[in-house]
């Protein structure tokens, strides 16, 4: 059985960048032959966080900003599962930013796909943490006076082991990034420039088409942290997409002693009585 579209049609606006992400996730899971029963897609809140509903897998459509900890719990409970986290820039780089950094430094094997449209869409157009400085929105009528967060640089500095950026207008390129991110053993980020056609009149498809170039096309060395950091700072006339950085490190699951005998979800519920007795004796019995 392969992952299919669910019977629920996406609720996104026509032309929304998130359709490309859905397609990329669907094709990646199919190419990797992941059995949908072994896939869990976790999201938070926002337009993009509706994504799990549009695929035929297990999923949790959670609460705003908490998709990563929910997914971390799933993965720690059963590391045989393929666990994806999908959401938006408000969810992941705003209200949930802390969890993103902590998941990266844990190098837990989650694939984090952020549909970054640089605006709050579902709440009808307020400034987002990735909106460019001086962007005028409903909540910043005279222009935002905050610098945008840099998710690529943050991921690199926090220990993520696969750091990439895609563009919804380059769907084949995006699908490759997503597929490799899922394949990667460790915490992976795919930040996707996913235009909001309804509320972001600045960062449009044509805005990006004029600026994006692929790192692969310029022989970028994804093994170099210094090179990746330099590229992560580039945003202006040219915007790089592709794989910034990839490295192999032990994952949290591999280093966690409690997981040595396999996934927790597959352990017996009933404890060995002997273990429990030893548990008491080790520190509490007033024994001789």
């Amino acid at each position: 059985m392969i992952v299919e579209k669910s019977k629920i049609p996406p609720t996104w606006c026509p032309g929304c960048g998130d359709y490309a992400v859905l397609k990329a996730v669907e094709s990646s899971l199919a190419n990797l032959k992941r059995d949908p029963k072994d896939v869990v897609i976790v999201s938070g809140i926002g337009c993009s966080s509706n994504l799990p509903h549009f695929l035929n897998t297990y999923g949790i459509h959670g609460i705003h900003g908490r998709a990563i900890p929910i997914a971390t719990g799933v993965r720690l409970a059963n590391h045989d599962l393929t666990v994806l986290v999908t959401g938006g820039d408000g969810d992941g780089y705003g209200i949930g930013l802390g969890h993103f950094l902590h998941a990266a430094r844990r190098n837990i094997n989650l694939t984090y796909i952020v549909m970054n449209n640089q605006i709050y869409g579902l709440t009808t157009g307020q400034v987002s943490p990735t909106s460019e400085k001086y962007t005028k929105t409903k909540s910043t009528p005279t222009g935002s006076i905050e610098e945008p967060v840099n998710p690529i640089a943050l991921a690199l500095m926090s220990g993520a082991t696969y750091v990439s950026r895609g563009f919804s207008g380059e769907i084949n390129h995006l699908a490759t990034l997503v597929e490799n991110a899922i394949r990667h053993n460790g915490f992976s980020l795919v930040d996707v420039l996913s235009p909001c056609v309804s509320f972001n009149k600045l960062n449009t498809y044509s805005f990006f088409r004029e600026r994006v170039y692929t790192l692969e096309g310029e022989n970028h060395d994804a093994g170099s942290m210094e090179g990746a950091l330099a590229k992560s700072m580039e945003w202006g006339a040219r915007i790089p997409i592709g794989l910034f950085y990839e490295t192999q490190k032990k994952t949290y699951e591999e280093e966690e002693p409690a997981l040595e005998s396999g996934p927790l979800a597959k352990q017996s519920l009933i404890f060995d009585r002997h273990l429990v007795e030893e548990f008491i004796a080790r520190c509490w019995f007033s024994e001789e």
Partner: protein
């Protein structure tokens, strides 16, 4: 002659009060006595004033006390604060000043001088005092020696030898210098478990098949994390200190969704952060157990002092209505069983369940006779229906977990239909969706009456027809029991109605209340949060109350005084 022995050790943080207290308490336990011990500390790492109370008897002890046979004063401050409540005073005259008017009999010992002969470590003076104390009570030195060997086994033979000789010196000094304390205790040497409420709860979680525990450090819940972490590898329980309480509860939900019995724990401040996700568990019908160990509030409040003031928050946590259960263990032993029960209820009804402790219950020690390990109930994830949120009679729907063939579903925090499909966006307010919304709300809420019917009524101890009923919940039960005994000796008959299940209330609670002649509501908060809950559910007003919110544990004497006034 006294049927029990009580000792208080006081000093500043950093003096080793808690570890010395624990050593002495364990010595009493090992001699075969029932012991209750309370570690009172402050939110400071060095300095201030802290103390450790021990009460020991041949009978089970249910609460802390205020009078002491022996006060071990490691600083002058301790005598100023507690000198008036102690019969005897162990102190070092060279370091500690005992005022002229202090009524206790003085047992000065050159503690630091003796300790210095053995080692440069000044803390060793405490062990000298413990040795003297053990001799005064008449316990064999071998008992103290055994505890010292266990306590310091990780630190090596040298530290053990120093402590054993310091204890021996103190013991011999007391033997030569002081007369023993008269009492009627015999030391049976019977083995018993000696645990705090938090440790009992952790053990209960292990027994219940908990495989995942997440927490952010917060007093007084932190020692649950420490205890489980220390045994994590051996028992296959994954313990995770998270970046905040939001992560702790959300990870717990994720782990449970994936099929693992999962728990998180915190105090009131952390639970305030968890409330949104608490509602998520209610909405997606994922079982979780949340431990809330209360301390004085509001806000940061009294981090190291006890209270029962977070009940209203537990009752109201999360948006709108969804079913939950709240169990408040009555004592240390009950913390073990209540945790079992919390897991069982959470899983059976697919709801979030709170185990409500308080600082006193979490952190004080009690001796327990035996813990029965009940086997967790077998779980069945076989789907009977193709709909994850199928409308059923008791509101509980078939559940599948990832990796399982059959039904894959999306657990959605948005309102959804029987299959889990959102009715909140393109289907919102359609006539069909309104009906679905009503029916799924009713399905979830239906669980409550089934949960309530499983809960046993509050225990009534004492004469059914007593003139006065002490109504309490959680850890104040022990205090009421002790007060009941004292009052009985004075010819005042009271019974105790102790609530363990705070929510949902058992059917018939109104009748149980209306059968009482006169009720004194006892709680450790300002407004009587549980009494108010009872009134709102039953219409019965409980007008007389004893609400304590100083942060200190409730003492039996306070209940006795109040009852005497009422019965006058």
């Amino acid at each position: 002659m006294a049927g029990n022995i009580s000792v208080k050790i006081g000093g500043a943080a950093g003096d080793g009060v808690a570890s010395s207290g624990e050593t002495l308490a364990r010595t009493f336990v090992r001699s075969g006595l029932y012991v209750s011990a309370y570690n009172s500390y402050q939110s400071v790492i060095r300095g201030g004033h802290i103390y450790f109370d021990i009460r020991a008897s041949e009978e089970k002890i249910y609460s802390a006390g205020r009078r002491f046979d022996i006060l071990i004063a490691l600083d002058s401050n301790t005598i100023d604060i507690h000198g008036g409540n102690a019969s005897r005073l162990i102190y070092d005259e060279k370091k500690v000043v005992c005022p002229e008017n202090c009524p206790s009999s003085r047992l000065p010992i050159p503690l630091s001088e003796i300790a210095r002969k053995i080692s440069k470590n000044p803390i060793l003076q405490n062990t000298v005092a413990l040795g003297a104390c053990v001799k005064l009570v008449g316990i064999d030195f071998a008992q103290l020696e055994g505890v010292l060997k266990d306590t310091f086994k990780e630190k090596g033979e040298g530290v053990i030898a120093e402590n054993v000789s310091a204890g021996r010196e103190g013991y011999d000094f007391a033997e030569k210098t002081f007369s023993p304390i008269p009492h009627s205790l015999t030391f049976s040497g019977k083995k018993r478990v000696f645990l705090t409420g938090n440790a009992a709860l952790a053990l209960g979680a292990v027994g219940a098949g908990c495989r995942f525990y997440a927490a952010y450090p917060m007093t007084p819940a932190s020692s649950i994390l420490h205890t489980l972490a220390a045994h994590s590898e051996k028992c296959g329980i994954l313990t995770k200190q998270t970046e905040d309480e939001l992560a702790a509860i959300n990870m717990t939900i994720g782990a449970s969704f994936a099929g693992v019995r999962a728990m998180c724990g915190t105090s009131g401040g952390g639970f305030a952060l968890m409330t949104e996700a608490f509602g998520l568990a209610g909405m997606i019908e994922t079982p979780i157990v949340v431990v809330v160990s209360q301390r004085g509030g509001p806000s940061t409040g009294l981090p190291t002092k006890t209270a029962q003031g977070d009940l209203n928050m537990m009752l109201g946590a999360g948006q709108d209505d969804f079913p939950r259960a709240i169990i408040a263990p009555l004592d240390v032993e009950d913390s073990f069983y209540a945790t079992y029960e919390a897991f069982r209820l959470a899983e059976k009804y697919q709801i979030p369940v709170i185990v409500a402790l308080d600082f006193y219950l979490s952190e004080h020690f009690e001796t327990l006779d035996e813990l029965r390990f009940l086997a967790p109930e077998k779980r069945d994830f076989t789907l009977l229906d193709s709909k994850r949120y199928a409308f059923t009679e008791n509101g509980v729907s078939p559940r599948s977990i990832p990796g399982q063939e059959g039904l894959m579903f999306i657990a959605s925090s948005d309102e959804h239909d029987e299959e889990g499909i959102n009715i909140s966006d393109v289907r919102a307010s359609l006539p069909e969706s309104q009906r679905i919304r009503e029916r799924i709300m009713e399905k979830r809420m239906r669980k409550l009456s089934f949960i309530a019917s499983e809960m046993s009524p509050p225990s009534l101890s004492g004469d059914v027809d007593a003139d006065l009923t002490l109504l309490c919940w959680g850890s104040t039960f022990g205090v009421c029991r002790e007060a009941q005994t004292i009052l009985a000796d004075e010819g005042i008959k009271v019974n105790i109605l102790a609530f363990r299940y705070l929510f949902p209330l058992v059917p018939g609670t109104g009748e149980i209340l209306s059968r009482r002649r006169r009720i004194l509501g006892i709680e450790q908060n300002y407004t009587g949060q549980f009494t108010q809950l009872l009134t709102s559910h039953t219409g019965i007003q409980i007008k007389e109350c004893l609400y304590k919110y100083s942060g200190e544990p409730l003492y039996a004497g306070e209940v006795v005084t109040r009852v005497r006034e009422m019965m006058r």
